[in-house]
């Protein structure tokens, strides 16, 4: 068996080569990065337009919304950068090319996901960090060591929640031939994440908090830094929620992998 350290080392070796190879397609990298940049910018534009017509969104100001969105951008980056191969799972499963992932002495999720390292996600990550710093200066947030520690913990948990939702949804490919709607829905849901959960009514808020907890991708943890007095106790459970969800997603993945029979060859 391999140790975590060995896996990390191996990951760096594979990705270093992968990035070197991708850099040969410079136009591809530049165009997709510009696309990523403007997509993020457009969402910020929407906030700005909304807050031009109404003074606040459920009591949240523009700058607070920017903070939540910045948190969201950082939190979904690990999914974008490290787990992007989840999108191709249904093609590999359908065409039988998924078989090759069984033949190496490696954890299969590791081997599968290591095949793609999405460079444009780095743009998103950098934008998120810049925005977060900008918003916290504007909001005069006082960053103590404890707060920075909490930020890292909540970001880690939020990233796990987002990764788990996408991985679990992509696994539908193991049982359903036309599985795209499942992944598409999971992807769409993330668009609700950077909004204050209080704008959703009971049923949706319940769903986004307890069933598909995208509230934990951005809004709930951001409260910890924006309005600590209003924060719900649930936020302190976010590491457990993140790790629990990832375990669930991993379990679904393992079930799928074990039930896969491949195509004839």
């Amino acid at each position: 068996m391999r140790t975590l350290g060995e896996y990390i080392r191996l990951y760096f070796i594979i990705e270093a080569q992968y990035i070197k190879a991708r850099m040969q397609y410079r136009a591809d990298f530049i165009i997709s990065s510009i696309g990523m940049f403007f997509t993020s910018l457009a969402t910020l534009g929407v906030f700005w337009v909304i807050l031009q017509s109404v003074p606040d969104v459920a009591g949240w100001s523009l700058m607070e919304m920017v903070f939540i969105y910045a948190f969201f951008m950082i939190a979904i980056s690990p999914m974008q950068i490290l787990f992007d191969h989840a999108w191709q799972l249904r093609f590999h499963v359908q065409e039988g090319t998924f078989l090759k992932y069984y033949f190496r002495p490696l954890n299969m999720m590791f081997y599968y996901m290591s095949e793609i390292f999405d460079l444009k996600g780095l743009i998103q990550l950098v934008m998120g960090i810049v925005l977060l710093i900008y918003a916290s200066i504007q909001l005069q947030i006082d960053w103590t060591l404890l707060k920075i520690f909490l930020l890292l913990i909540t970001l880690f948990s939020a990233a796990l929640v987002q990764i788990s939702i996408i991985v679990a949804a992509s696994c539908a490919a193991f049982w359903v031939v036309e599985s795209y709607p499942v992944l598409g829905l999971a992807w769409k849901l993330r668009e609700f994440a950077p909004y204050p959960m209080s704008i959703f009514d009971g049923a949706f808020r319940f769903m986004f908090t307890f069933l598909i907890p995208i509230g934990f991708v951005a809004f709930y943890p951001s409260q910890l830094f924006l309005r600590p007095e209003e924060v719900s106790l649930l936020v302190y459970f976010s590491p457990i929620i993140g790790i629990g969800l990832f375990s669930l997603a991993y379990w679904i993945w393992t079930k799928g992998v074990n039930s896969y029979t491949g195509t004839g060859s």
């Binding site: 068996m1 080392r9 191996l10 070796i13 594979i14 080569q17 992968y18 190879a21 991708r22 039988g96 090319t97 078989l99 090759k100 069984y102 033949f103 190496r104 002495p105 490696l106 954890n107 095949e115 074990n258 896969y260 029979t261 491949g262 004839g264 060859s265």
Partner: protein, 340 residues
């Protein structure tokens, strides 16, 4: 103890009985009407270290299913399967360390990377030490001139070059057993020969066991000492290749296109051939595709030139093709008791 031990192995799949039409599709959603397909039923064999075994059979015979069970992808429905003393399905990672697999035309190298980088990543994955790595790479270079391809991206290799690289890669970590599934499919004769000699050398170099599934009987003739023929999930023949060799080695099919062909032509041809060569010579005449008539015969009994001459003399022939006997024909002949 043998390297691979399989005893009374079964793999059954449950398949939904599908109904026709749109309403049928809707009813299928709630249907519990399954039928069981026996992909592999009750096979047993042992393979010793160092053997090259040809595992052959027509499409859908159960070859892939058996290989998938040996490599730990599929769990058997029942029966014993041990590779290297371990049950593959429960020890996938440990097994993978001692196995190599090449699956048809699907490369396992990194598509975007230069060949040498793929090998370097594999060295890390299998924890191959520096010295062994160097030795292996030297050997691959001696065998197929791998160095010339080192800096080429995998995606830019030709199919034959890629297959050579894939096969070499599957031997990098000195596996105990290598599964090669259709290694020569879609390749021209000269590349086929190269691949066959590579496989042969790699087998002798480290006494690596090789299990070869193929549709190309030439592969089997060139490489295997033992052959296992499987059809409909059951083993038809398991033994020395020499016995089977006579079967497909000597048989040829002469395909002819006859001018003004009609139903009576086939009958006339059949009668004339039997009259001329005799019933005991075992010539069969059949029409398998439009315009073409197939005459299959044993070269050991009737020389090809005789058959060709006879047909040309008696009929106006437009076109002629000579093909080696197909896998399906071999299996049919085994059914007919050719190996008695």
């Amino acid at each position: 103890m043998s390297l691979i031990h399989i005893e009374n192995l079964n793999k059954h799949f449950k398949v939904l009985n599908r109904r026709e039409g749109l309403s049928g599709a809707f009813r299928d959603l709630f249907s519990g009407d399954y039928k069981t397909v026996e992909a592999v039923s009750g096979i047993s064999f042992d393979i010793e270290a160092g053997e090259i075994v040809g595992y052959i059979g027509p499409n859908g015979a159960g070859k892939s299913t058996t290989i998938k069970m040996m490599t730990g992808i599929l769990q058997p429905t029942s029966g014993v399967i041990e590779v290297n003393g371990l049950v593959p399905y429960y020890n996938r990672i440990r097994q993978a360390q001692t196995m190599g697999v090449v699956f048809g035309q699907r490369t396992q190298l990194w598509w975007d990377l230069p060949v040498i980088e793929s090998f370097k990543i594999l060295r890390e994955i299998y924890k191959v030490d520096e010295k062994t790595f160097k030795q292996q790479m030297e050997m691959f270079n001696d065998l197929v001139g791998l160095k010339a391809l080192h800096m080429q991206q995998v995606r830019t290799l030709s199919l034959g070059q890629r297959m050579l690289c894939d096969i070499a890669a599957s031997f990098l970590h000195n596996p105990k057993v290598v599964f090669l599934d259709e290694p020569t499919i879609g390749l021209d004769i000269s590349v086929k020969a190269k691949i066959r000699s590579l496989i042969k050398r790699l087998n002798t170099e480290h006494k690596t066991t090789i299990i070869l599934t193929t549709h190309d009987l030439g592969d089997v003739e060139a490489l295997c000492t033992r052959i296992i023929i499987i059809d409909k999930g059951k083993i038809l023949y398991d033994g020395d290749i020499k016995k089977v060799n006579a079967l497909f080695g000597a048989y040829r099919t002469l395909k002819v296109q006859i001018d003004n062909f009609n139903e009576s032509t086939l009958q006339t041809l059949q009668e004339k051939i039997v009259n001329h060569f005799g019933v005991d010579k075992n010539l069969t005449v059949a029409q398998t595709e439009e315009f073409w008539t197939d005459i299959t015969f044993d070269q050991a009994l009737t020389p090809l030139s005789d058959v060709l001459n006879f047909v040309m003399k008696n009929f106006s022939v437009l076109d002629v093709r000579i093909v080696e006997i197909s896998m399906e024909n071999v299996v049919q002949k085994v059914y007919d008791g050719a190996l008695g």
